[in-house]
Structure formats: structure tokens, C-alpha cells
Amino acid sequence: MGNTNGNPDVRLMKGNEALAEAALRAGMKAYFGYPITPQSEVLEYLTAHAPEHPEVVILQAESEVAAINMIYGASGAGARVMITSSSPGISLMMEGISYMASAQLPALIVNVQRGGPGLGTIQPSQGDYFQAVKGGGHGDYRLIVLAPASVQEMVDHVFEGFRLSEKYRNPAMILADGALGQMMEKVVLPPAGSLAPPDFAWATSGKSATRDRNVVTSLFIQPERMEQINLALQAKYRTIEEAEVRCESIGMDDADVALVAFGLTSRICQKTMELARAKGIKVGLIRPITLFPFPYTVVRSYVDRVEAFLTVEMNAGQMVEDVRLAVEGDRPVHFTGRMGGMIPTPEEILAKVETIVHQPAKA
């Protein structure tokens, strides 16, 4: 798309469409999807632009179950693959995701979350934090989970998600929400070709005479062997925890109250910070960008510097459990949030802040 004559390629785009365009520019080789609100624009955008990208496989599957297994096959055959859906559809993919984690297949999985449980709503939610971060499918596995907070990050995290998933041979997930998918913002699109295409020696590319056959499987029937596989996976997750934590701290230098929020709620919390500081309440924000690995050390580092933590989420309180693990009871950890597709306002969050801190400052 678009010759920009060396200038940055700046657009005004919807989150879902920006993500789709980013995937094409990141060298995605195959996409399998199924329509579900609020992320259907990804499949629509890709099918509309398919003629410009004859080298990319774009297929509307008969179900999310089929789609995730097509992704399994395409990734196992060595292609850079992406799949997108929203909460109920992601639930349907959980078996396949567990298989991919076990078979150590890279893939980028995008969840544009909507309110649940059940069929729920089509409005934004962060109700799938546990599912994304703690497992979701069966067995001991982890996804690398990235939490964008802007349309720009919907783009950037596509590149980062592909890179990390291929580096670690592990599925990565972008945990977005319906608002990020639907809203339009200014975005700078990276040029195509900046991410080198993968070349996986383990892929089922056809057994040449010079190598043994490649097998992609998650079945290791001997328990001794299966435990070794598990130990290897756990060692990989520990490496990821060491090397790949991303977190942003805003206004934390002098903060008395630390808001902790990811994705859309972190944007709302920035407005709360402004409102609070105008009233003389020193509020800062810790924004985990990777949810796995979770920035425990970053959160922990503020324990001696703030009076309290307030976790803000669009759910009943999920990430707050990780904040509590980081704080280890050394400071109060509060929670406020909305559920079922409702979005908290900056004023609601400020009101909660005021119940925590009545005095303007420690002085």
C-alpha cells in the first residue's frame, strides 16, 4: 500500500483495520478467521486487500475450532500465521491453543475482547485476562500476552507478537478489547518487509533425503517423556519472564497512589491522574504491556514509595491478583472496575482514589 516517498506512513485508522494492515506488512503468510463482533473488520479488511497480496492465504473457516486447527497446520508447515477472534470465539479455540503451546508452534492470536460470560455483549471488556494469562486451555502452558492501549500499539504489537512467538516457538496473544478494535486514531504504519520471514528447520516442509522426517505433535504418551517436555516448556517460560517484561510507568516518581491498569483502562486512568493531580492528589500509573510475563518486579519496586495500589480493570478483578502477588501484602491493593461491556469513567476511578487517600499529599 501507498508510496509515501520516504515520509512516515501516517493514517487515521480503526484498530481492527490497522492490525490487519500491520499483519500484511509484517509478512503474515496465512490468516484463518471466522466472523464475530467486534473484530470482523480484520477478516473484512484482509479479504478486501487479498488481491494486492496473492502470496498471503486468507480463508474464512467454518468455525473458530476449524480456524485454530488450520493455524496449527499452517504454522506447523512453517508459515507466519495470525488468527483473530473475540471472547466466545477464543474460548472455542482453547483446545487448539493448548495443542500449539505443547507442540511449540509460533502464531499470533488476537482477542478483541467483549463482555461475558456466555454470549454476553459486544461491548469492550477485559474479562478474559485469566483465560489469556493463566492458561485457558488444559495443561501447564503459557502464552506471551501483549496488551495494546492504542491503535498504534495494535500495529506495533503485531510485529512484536510475531517476533516473540517465533523467537520462543510459542503462541503469542494480543489481548485487546472492542474499543481498541473499533476506535479510530492516528497511526504510523511501519514499512513492509522489516520483519525477516521465518525459516524453521523443524517445520513439515517435506522430508528431504538429507534429514529425518519432521513431526509436529503434542502427544508424548510416556509420562517420563511428557514430564521432560513440561520441564522444557517451564524453562522456556522462565526465560521469557527474565527477558521479555514490558511495562510503562507514568507519573510514578512522586505518586502516593499507584493505579495499575492495562489496555483501554490505562488510557482512562491517565485522565484520572490529571483530575487527581488537579485536586492535589499525587496519582501515578503502572501499565503492564506484557501480561505474561507480568511485571511483578516493577510493581514490587514501588511498594516502599506509595501508600496504596489501585488496580482498575474492565472485569470483576483479575489482574489485581497478580498485583497482590507482587505487593505481597506490604501495601493495600484496592480494586475498581466495571463488567459486562461497561467502561469505567475517569471520575468513577477518581472517586475510588479519594476513598483511598483523603489527604492531598504525605507532605
Partner: protein, 254 residues
Amino acid sequence: MENTMIPEGMEVVYKKPQTLTDTPMHYCPGCGHGVIHKILMEVIDEMGIQSETIGIAPVGCSVFAYDYMNVDMQEAAHGRASAVATGVKRVRPHKFVYSYQGDGDLAAIGTGETIHTVNRGENILMLFVNNGIYGMTGGQMAPTSLLGMKTSTSPFGREASTMGYPLKITELVAQLPGAYYVTRQSVHTTANVRKLKKAIEASFRYQKEKKGTCFIEVVSNCPSGWKMTPIEANEWLEKNMFPYYPLGDLKAPK
């Protein structure tokens, strides 16, 4: 893997294709899977397409097919072999891709994937082994179990009013425009083995020509699950399975 122990004056007239590994198969005595594996891999060997072929193994008795088949293989989740095969074929369109599934896998939990893979006319071979029972899990009722058939979950015999009818999924997929070649074969006699071999050869030829989905059902046995000797099982197969699942082409190019 060449046999160097051939006595002088003798020659090899029959051998295992090098597309099969040396791993001993776990199949029960008399089971059709071993023969079907061998014929499939023999065709791949004779056509010289070992390096060009990617196979998909199912969940079921043939879950370990990738241990025996000396080609690049992927092990699929239960029922999803044809979706996995779709993913492989779409990103490796010049390779030969086949899925290998049993009746529970292809015609129960994977029915949706089966229908839609064929309906898209994916250029793959779907090899479907129908023995009317869940062998791997210990002989439970399958979608293809015959009426009256006693299994561990239909201990008084399959009864239509509560358990439904044996599913003729091959007749079903033959209706779909994406299906190019649909045939039902068996491996209970050497003559039938030869016919299956021809069907597999034709399927790979059609795949090369991008004709659409080739679907081969092999009506097979399960001596352990049916609680019969191998000979009794093959007799039962002829007497009971073939009348309901008649052998022959359901859809063949003119």
C-alpha cells in the same frame, strides 16, 4: 535399511517400503490399519513423492501413524485432521497432503471439518478408516456402528430411536461439489488391497492436477473391539458391514 542377509541365489520379491519406519506397530493382530499404512506408504514410495508429502495423523487407533510413516507429519486434535491438512495445503500448495482418520474422528467429532473441507474442494486426500467402533478408547459406539451392534456404550445393541442411525458420511460428502473422487474400499483380501492401492494412486494423481478433494473410505475391522478372531472379524465385515457400506466408487471422474 536394505536387507544384507539375502542368501545367495535368492532375490527380494517383497519388502517393506522405505517410506515406512522400522518402529514396530502397536496395532492388534488382524487389524486393518497396518495394511492400510503399508499400502499408502508404498504408493508414496513408488510415486517418488516422499519428500513432497505431508501427512496428518488423527486421534484414535492411528494416533501414532506419524511413528510409522516416514514422511513429515503433523498430529491433529481429535476430529480436526482435515482442518490441519487445509492449513498445511494452503501454505504448501505444491506438496501432497493427506489426512488419515477413523470413524469417530472424521464422522463424529470432526463432522463439521469433514463436510467443509470437502465442500471447499481442498486438494488433499482424506483417508477414512471405518471399523464401526472406537478402538483406542476401548470399544465404544461409533457414529458408524451398525444397528444392533453391541459396544461398551451400547451394551444391548445400537438402537435407532435413542442412538440414531449409522452415519453414511461417505455418501454425504459425495454429494458435495468439492469432492472429485469418492470411493469405498477394503483391505480384507489381497484383491481388495490392490484396488485400494489403485484408488490411492489415482488420488495423488488428481491432487497433482488440483482436481479437488479425494475421499477414500476403507471399511475395516476391529477384532479386539468386536471381540472376534481376525478371521471371524473379516467374515463379520463381509456379512454385516458391506451390505450397509457397499464397496465401490461413489463419485469418480468420467
